[in-house]
């Protein structure tokens, strides 16, 4: 406790509320409120309606939602596999090899998503791999973008993993592959779940690279939110955004439930 007087505490909380509420709480509330409205020209929105949600769960919007879910699921699984593989390998390497591998897999974090989109577009619009115009180019770009996050969080988990478990297993006669599948991966399972959730959330909200790549028949939800907003349908866009947030939260919640059950300590 830093501030001991009652007045001082009240003052600090007031400062917190004044900063926190308008900056962080209001925006999210505003989007939710707008999604149920038809008009907003005063202090509060008006014309309550659920029409936007009705539109958001059918036709084009529904397709966009399933597109986003499929993209995010595919990209997170691929990224998790790739990132975990690289992180496990890096952990068993020493010195320069390990640093190089880590740096390589962290690099996509530093490269702007738009540039990743441009690079993927340039590379896969030409033979030998002509993916432009297909859904695969979107999934591929999302995978590139979230692999770095998967690798980062799995690496951190491996660093936290006490080497004594691995050594105890090896001492008992378990060969490396047995140690990996029976000891290391089970112990890493909670962290792998967390990494998968993170990748999923990031992919669900990805807009930058997607804007450069999406084909007409594979339009993820964020793109739809943008096009709606861009043509002035702010309230429809809000409903779509709420659907996007809710879906992301639901998936994260489900993942964390599985994680709690899978964590042993």
């Amino acid at each position: 406790m830093l501030v001991h007087s009652r007045k001082g505490r009240a003052a600090s909380w007031l400062v917190f509320a004044v900063l926190f509420v308008p900056l962080f709480a209001v925006p999210l509330l505003v989007i939710v409120a707008a999604s149920f409205s038809t008009n907003w020209s005063g202090a509060l929105p008006s014309g309550p309606t659920t029409e936007h949600y009705a539109a958001a769960v059918r036709g084009e919007s529904l397709r966009a939602l399933t597109t986003s879910l499929a993209t995010a699921a595919a990209a997170s699984l691929l990224a998790l596999t790739l990132g975990t593989w690289a992180a496990l390998t890096a952990a068993s390497l020493r010195g320069r090899g390990r640093r190089l591998l880590d740096a390589l897999f962290v690099l996509p974090l530093a490269v702007p998503s738009v540039v990743v989109g441009l690079a993927v577009l340039v590379a896969f619009s030409r033979p030998p791999l002509l993916l432009n115009g297909t859904r695969w180019i979107v999934i591929l770009a999302h995978t590139v973008l979230v692999t770095a996050f998967a690798h980062q969080s799995v690496s951190a988990a491996i660093r936290r993993l006490d080497p004594m478990y691995e050594q105890a297993a090896a001492g008992l006669g378990a060969r490396p592959s047995y140690v990996l599948f029976r000891v290391k991966l089970p112990l890493l399972l909670p962290s792998l779940g967390a990494a998968a959730g993170l990748c999923f959330a990031l992919s669900m909200g990805e807009l930058s690279a997607t804007m450069m790549l999406y084909p007409p028949d594979w339009t993820p939800l964020p793109v739809l939110v943008f096009t709606a907003t861009d043509r002035g349908s702010l309230f429809t866009g809000s409903a779509l955004a709420v659907v996007l947030m809710a879906t992301t939260l639901l998936v994260l919640l489900a993942v964390s439930r599985i994680r709690t059950r899978a964590s042993y300590r």
Binding site: M1, L2, V3, H4, S12, W13, V15, F16, L19, L23, F24, V26, P27, L28, V30, I31, A33, W40, G42, A43, P45, L82, W85, A86, T89, S92, L93, G97, L101, L104, L107, P108, A110, V111, S113, V114, V115, V116, L118, A119, A123, T143, V144, L198, A201, L202, M204, G205, L207, S208, M211, M212, F226, T229, L234, S238, A241, T248, L249, L252
Partner: protein, 286 residues
């Protein structure tokens, strides 16, 4: 038979030990590296190659739009980073050291906030400060004027506000982690010795928080340099950043050579800064 010599000469084995693990481990690194190479490094290489088209660099670097975008990007990123650092420090300080009921919920809210896409903030700000939004609505309702005074949303200030809002949690998270490791006994001793809160913050908390601040700040700087969604949603003609320029050159003008040049510049700046971030955060133990 039971030999125990205290000073036996070291026996050096003649046969060099085969480094039995090194070779296979390297082989395991190849598949992920190959995949990454195909989907990321090779495309990035093509971007660099494309940018080397004759005259591309000269044209782009000489153009006013590029220089404007560069200046806008840098000052927005620096401004947003400073804003995030100040705001994040104050908020994290209160959450950590002047706890209130619901402080835990706030830190959970921050985690959730991080998992939402950035453009949602701009969308929300449209309702709060947009031409027909909450703030202007209040103004016109109160004064009877035809239009409200808030029209900064389509200026760089709108982008700055959105970026500070969105990226502040990225500073708060490492800070809260650092604060949770701070020994509260230290604070109690300091305040029992008569130090006032401001002094404790300056002399005890701030030095402890510096590594986390540096790490969080440089991460936010890089992310601001690369931010696209917020700028795109603002839809302002006057605000063009480097990522926005890449997008418009490539998609709207189909000028790939120019887009690649801008992309290379952007990558050089952010990768350079990111390398600094890694060094800083490793030193900070983050």
């Amino acid at each position: 038979m039971a030999s125990a010599r205290a000073a036996a000469p070291p026996v050096v084995t003649a046969a060099g030990r085969p480094r039995r693990r090194t070779a296979p481990t390297w082989a395991w690194a190849l598949p992920p590296v190959a995949v990454l190479g195909l989907v990321f490094l090779y495309p990035l290489g093509l971007v660099v190659q494309e940018s080397l088209a004759p005259g591309a660099y000269a044209d782009v670097l000489a153009s006013a739009s590029f220089r404007d975008a560069l200046v806008t990007t840098v000052w927005l990123a620096v401004g947003a980073t400073v804003g995030c650092l100040v705001l994040g420090f104050v908020l994290a300080l209160i959450v950590a050291f002047v706890p209130f009921p619901g402080a835990k919920a706030v830190s959970r809210f921050i985690d959730v906030f991080l998992s939402f896409p950035s453009f949602l903030i701009t969308l929300a700000l449209l309702f709060v400060y947009g031409t027909v939004g909450m703030a202007n609505g209040l103004w016109t309702g109160a004064t009877g004027a035809a239009e409200g005074p808030f029209r900064f949303l389509t200026t760089p200030w709108g982008v700055l506000l959105a970026e500070i809002t969105y990226f502040t949690p990225f500073v708060m998270r490492p800070l809260l982690a650092a604060f949770s490791q701070l020994d509260t006994a230290q604070l109690e001793v300091a305040s029992s010795l008569g130090a006032r809160p401001a002094r404790i913050v300056r002399k005890v908390i701030l030095p402890e928080a510096l590594p986390a601040l540096a790490a969080g700040g440089s991460l936010v700087l890089v992310m601001c340099l690369n931010e696209f969604g917020i700028v795109l949603f603002t839809g302002a003609k006057g605000v063009t950043t480097l990522p926005m320029l890449v997008y418009s050159k490539a998609i709207l003008e189909s000028d790939y050579a120019a887009a690649c040049v801008v992309a290379v510049v952007n990558v050089v700046i952010s990768v350079g800064l990111y390398a600094v971030y890694r060094v800083v955060s490793r030193r900070a133990g983050a």
